[in-house]
């Protein structure tokens, strides 16, 4: 299975019935496709809506209805539109249950860096800093390494997105929970060993006696 789909499926398991959820652009967007049966969540989009639906079928696009990535989207029954100040009132004000974001690095303190690589790629933070600072639960969904280099590191050398500790890191290899004591390996994906995870991680991991098998 494609790594990104594997990660998206595992993240989807974290969503609870009734949650207000914001999905970042890219990998996190895939999470919407794997919400478990019986779980109904409401999607918030930074550009100003709650109740965002699926991508419209061809021919049903509306030029004024897009998601935070600028792609055409749709509104579910019961949706609402609002301005950017209200959108971030929801985000910063602690009214958003879960945010799922991509990551460039996460470190032992659970700090996330995901908005720029100095001198190389400077997209800007967009809504990421507010999302990580304000959401009740922050899940980082990312591939475990980038071109073979570990993305989970001792200390981020890229500019931080927030000093708020993220709540969960989901990669194709494992699930890690940042805690006050450090990064705890919670689950390991089928086909990988604990040594595989260690060899691809540049941070110390706390490995409990029972590490669960990562489900979908």
């Amino acid at each position: 299975m494609d790594n990104k789909i594997k990660i998206a499926k595992r993240v989807a398991q974290e969503l609870k019935d009734g949650d207000l959820v914001n999905l970042g652009i890219g990998l996190p967007t895939l999470v919407a496709n794997y919400i478990p049966d019986g779980v109904e969540v409401t999607f918030q989009s930074e550009n100003g809506m709650v109740g965002m639906g699926r991508s419209p079928e061809e021919g049903y696009e509306n030029k004024d209805l897009t998601n935070a990535g600028g792609m055409y989207t749709s509104a579910n029954p019961g949706a609402m539109y609002f301005d950017s100040a209200f959108s971030f009132a929801l985000i910063r004000g602690g009214h958003l249950d879960v945010t799922v974001l991509g990551g460039l690095q996460v470190d032992e303190k659970g700090h996330l860096a995901n908005w720029m690589v100095p001198g190389k790629k400077i997209p800007g933070m967009g809504g990421a800093m507010d999302l990580v600072t304000g959401a009740k639960k922050v899940i980082v969904a990312m591939t475990h390494t980038a071109k073979g280099n570990p993305k989970i590191v001792k200390e981020c050398n890229l500019p931080l997105t927030s000093i708020r500790k993220v709540d969960l890191i989901v990669t194709e290899m494992c699930v890690i929970e940042p805690t006050d004591k450090g990064l705890v390996l919670k689950e390991i994906a089928p086909g990988y060993t604990i040594d595989d995870v260690k060899n691809n991680t540049a941070a110390d991991l706390i490995i409990p006696e029972n590490v669960k098998i990562m489900g979908e």
Binding site: D64, L65, T66, A68, G119, A128, D130
Partner: protein
């Protein structure tokens, strides 16, 4: 409120003006006003907007035509031209978290002297700013942000200037309507006063100085 044509809009906006421009990746951006600014070649602009859109859309076109000396925005990732000009020191880019940008603009528009936000504390956004501990939590002080002109896009206006936005094209437009010294709105249609249900008026006409009908772009 006065209904004017595009040429008059261009005449009003002088080179070196500061502009806050509504829209999110070009959705809810007054494209025809931007085209007129380009046509009249207004230069040295300071632009405030959520993002720099794409090279061929919205704010992105002003950047690509090199009419912008400084941009205050949250995201430039969809417009490679912005990053190129930033690295070459041709266009100054001030990156601001999106929620902070919205509140800075709102603060200017609602008569507040700034805001305290937890967003950006302990990051590079904090550099040079006051950090205040309020009831055990650290906040950054962010100043209000206003501009000479707010250039907005609405679905429709009535002849009193009351505005109705469409779907997610609302975004930064309503807060910029409060924070621009002169507010110019591009609309798809102007309808008789009273034909927009008062429940559905998103920005009151008292905030609007000029309306231009720009078509469905």
């Amino acid at each position: 409120m006065e209904v004017i044509n595009l040429k008059k809009v261009g005449d009003l906006i002088t080179s070196n003006s500061s502009l806050m421009i509504g829209g999110f990746l070009g959705v809810g951006t007054p494209e025809n006003i931007i085209d007129e600014i380009i046509r009249q070649k207004k230069e040295g602009l300071i632009v405030i907007g959520n993002d720099t859109s794409f090279v061929d859309k919205g704010i992105g076109k002003l950047i690509a035509k090199r009419l912008v000396k400084k941009v205050i925005t949250s995201h430039i990732g969809t417009n490679p031209e912005t990053q190129k000009q930033m690295i070459a020191n041709e266009c100054e880019v001030e990156l601001t978290p999106q929620g902070t940008l919205a509140e800075k603009i709102r603060a200017a528009g609602v008569g507040l002297g700034g805001i305290f936000t937890p967003t950006g504390v302990g990051t590079t956004v904090e550099d040079g700013k006051e950090v205040r501990n309020i009831d055990g939590i650290n906040y950054l002080f962010e100043k209000p942000l206003s501009a000479d002109f707010a250039l907005l896009k609405a679905k429709r206006a009535d002849f009193k200037g009351n505005l109705q936005y469409n779907l997610t094209a609302r975004n930064f437009n309503p807060i910029m309507a409060l924070a621009g010294k002169t507010v110019i709105v591009e609309v798809e249609e102007i309808v008789p006063v009273g034909s927009i249900d008062p429940n559905n008026v998103h920005t009151p006409g008292v905030l609007v100085d000029y309306i231009v009908v720009g078509g469905n772009k």
